[in-house]
Amino acid sequence: MTPHNGEALRLVAVRKEYGTVTALDGVSLSLPTGTFTAVMGPSGSGKSTLLHCAAGLDRPTEGRVFVAGTEMTGDDETALTKFRRRRIGFVFQRFNLMPTLTVLQNVLLPRRLAGMPVDKARAVATLRRVGLGDRLNHRPAELSGGQQQRVAIARALVTEPQVVFADEPTGALDTRSAREVLALLRETVRRDGQTIVMVTHDPVAAAHADSVIFLADGRLAGSMLAPSPEAVAERLAHLGDDLRVGV
């Protein structure tokens, strides 16, 4: 029984205002389970706000958010945290690992905090899969940026979330590490049916996704299936033009 009909994330007319500034202007979208979606747009287009609202890191001013069919509710931070930690995984540009914990302890932390059974064997298996089986007892500071990001990915996957949100996951990495991280994200989608939403400004990174959603001035400005870096870059360069024509 799948009450959400294979839908991992759904946004209904989500608006977000900061004071008099409208960061998101009524965005509606639906992402099927097991897809890898990139969100792109010029800076100030609202892509970070979209990610924060969709991931429960921020409350939309208006509109509704559903994760795997369950509406995100809760007025306070505690309720939101409890919603997030059972359904959503995060990968950030700056990794955000706990410096005093080892690699393995970092990966197990979300389960501990959520009061879920601490499944060490599974965490070790996940770390092996991201290629860090021999780094279990290292501290984050002893790893390269690419390795730290792979720890963060293992940590995001360990609670078996319905959606993983990645915010510029390759922004702090060199080209080679970036490629490895993107391949790893792709792989979790292809092999495990994981759903990933990635915000990026890099057309090469976006080209690893199944589809790209474009955002401009807080509104959806089109999408693209099976993106290539050139096509994405081309589209991005003309986002402004489309809008001007539309006015």
Partner: protein, 452 residues
């Protein structure tokens, strides 16, 4: 160039330096207030006995104040420098030479010391006048003596706060800049750091000195009546300072011991345990004042009570000189304890605010605000327990030998209520400060705070 950078960084990092400024300011006030008693004493026309009282007061109490001030200025300053390990690593990787970074750190400290000294002049003047009034009111100084604030106050104040903070910065800077860039960056990640051997040696030396004084009190001073206070009174201070210097070592060992009870407290206990062993150096900054507070307050208060009881039992009335000592004792306790309390609040606020990024990371990993609060609450509880235990040992180094010398019994027949009160104040200060600061830090949304 580096001094310009130093001033700019002071302006932008007001939070991190507020604690250091607070310490230099309060230290300056305290030291100058007592040193002004010397200015008052050397003025013409002051009766000989009044002069002697004033000089003793300034010497004994001011001397202890000096040690406390040097201690807190050094600890808050090195805290401020250590908190910026990553910034220093960045400067190094941008091409700053160790000498340039040293100049920047020392420049900041010098500016802080100068500002602290200047700001302290007026409060010190008022405080010194208040002290003189107190001495005149209790009949220990002749009524006609005029208050003076002059060269003694100014030079001592400047020497302690300005020179002290500059020297402290030099020491810390040397330690930081000796590391290679990669090491510095690595330390920025873990920030555990090791306790320097010099610190351990000094800590042990103070403990030895305290032990020696305890033996002297119990043997040489036996049957000397209230005079035993001369050696007994200092003992808890030396021992407490010794323990305070050793606090990172003590905390690391205690954290290992307390791992078992913390394991019961779920995920928050788990994180607290790892923080206590992984961030010992930072957290031990708050342990020092708890040890000093508990040790000095408990030791001195009970010593005075034991002496009062002994005098009453002997059917003697306290002489003027004994009254003097009593006032002195209470002023010492009041001052040192006040200073330790401020140092505790200061350190806790500085270290907690510095952890905003860490709290945000915990939250993004799935910790509820309550879980984050529980972590810091547990840490504060551990700090309190460890601090109170070692503070009590320090206090006993005064109480046991003194009681023995005065009455022949090892332990005083006194109410435990005073001790309970001291412990309660320490616990409330530590817990309330750290919970309130964490709650404040949690008000920033996690996604924003994580970028700090």
């Amino acid at each position: 160039m580096m001094f310009g950078l130093a001033l700019r960084s002071l302006r932008h990092r007001t939070g991190a330096f507020a604690a250091a400024f607070c310490a230099t300011f309060l230290g300056g006030t305290l030291v100058m207030a007592f040193a002004s008693l010397l200015d008052t004493a050397v003025a013409d026309g002051v009766p000989a006995t009044s002069r002697e009282t004033l000089i003793t007061m300034a010497g004994v109490v001011g001397g202890w104040g000096l040690i406390m001030v040097a201690f807190s200025v050094t600890s808050t300053l090195s805290l401020a420098v250590r908190q910026r390990t990553d910034e220093i690593a960045l400067l190094k990787s941008a091409g700053a030479t160790p000498a340039q970074i040293r100049r920047m750190i020392v420049g900041e400290a010098a500016a802080l010391g100068l500002a602290g000294t200047l700001a302290a002049i007026i409060p010190a003047l008022l405080g010194g006048r208040l002290l003189l009034d107190l001495l005149i009111d209790t009949g220990q100084v002749a009524p006609g003596v005029q208050y003076a604030f002059g060269p003694f106050a100014l030079t001592t104040g400047a020497a302690v706060t300005f020179a002290g903070s500059t020297f402290a910065a030099l020491l810390t800077a040397r330690r930081t800049t000796r590391m290679r860039v990669t090491e510095t960056l690595l330390e920025a990640g873990t920030r555990s750091g090791r306790t320097s051997r010099k610190r351990v040696v000094f800590g042990l030396l103070f403990l030895l000195l305290g032990a020696d004084l305890a033996v002297v009190t119990a043997t040489v001073m036996r049957g000397e009546g209230s005079d035993a206070m001369q050696t007994a009174g200092q003992t808890s201070i030396w021992v407490a300072v010794g323990f305070a210097l050793l606090s990172p070592v003590l905390l690391r060992a205690s954290a290992r011991l307390l791992a078992v009870p913390l394991a019961v407290a779920g995920a928050a206990g788990y994180l607290a345990r790892h923080n206590l062993s992984g961030r010992t150096q930072q957290l031990s900054g708050a342990l020092m004042p708890i040890i000093l507070f508990t040790g000095i307050a408990t030791g001195t208060l009970y010593m005075q009570r034991v002496d009062d009881a002994a005098l009453a039992a002997e059917g003697l009335r306290a002489s003027v000189e004994q009254d003097n000592i009593k006032t002195l004792n209470f002023v010492v306790v009041g001052m040192l304890v006040l200073f330790a309390a401020i140092m505790l609040i200061n350190t806790l606020i500085a270290t907690t605010m510095d952890r905003r990024g860490e709290f945000a990371r915990q939250r993004l990993t799935g910790a509820t605000p309550r879980q984050v609060l529980t972590v810091t609450g547990l840490e504060a509880a551990v700090l309190t327990v460890v601090g109170v235990v070692f503070g009590t040992v320090a206090a006993l180094c005064t109480i046991v030998p003194f009681t023995f010398a005065r009455t022949g019994d090892p332990l005083p027949d006194e109410t435990p209520a005073v001790y309970a009160g001291v412990v309660a104040v320490a616990a409330v200060l530590a817990l309330a400060t750290s919970l309130a600061t964490t709650r404040r830090a949690l008000r920033t949304p996690a996604v924003e705070a994580v970028a700090v």
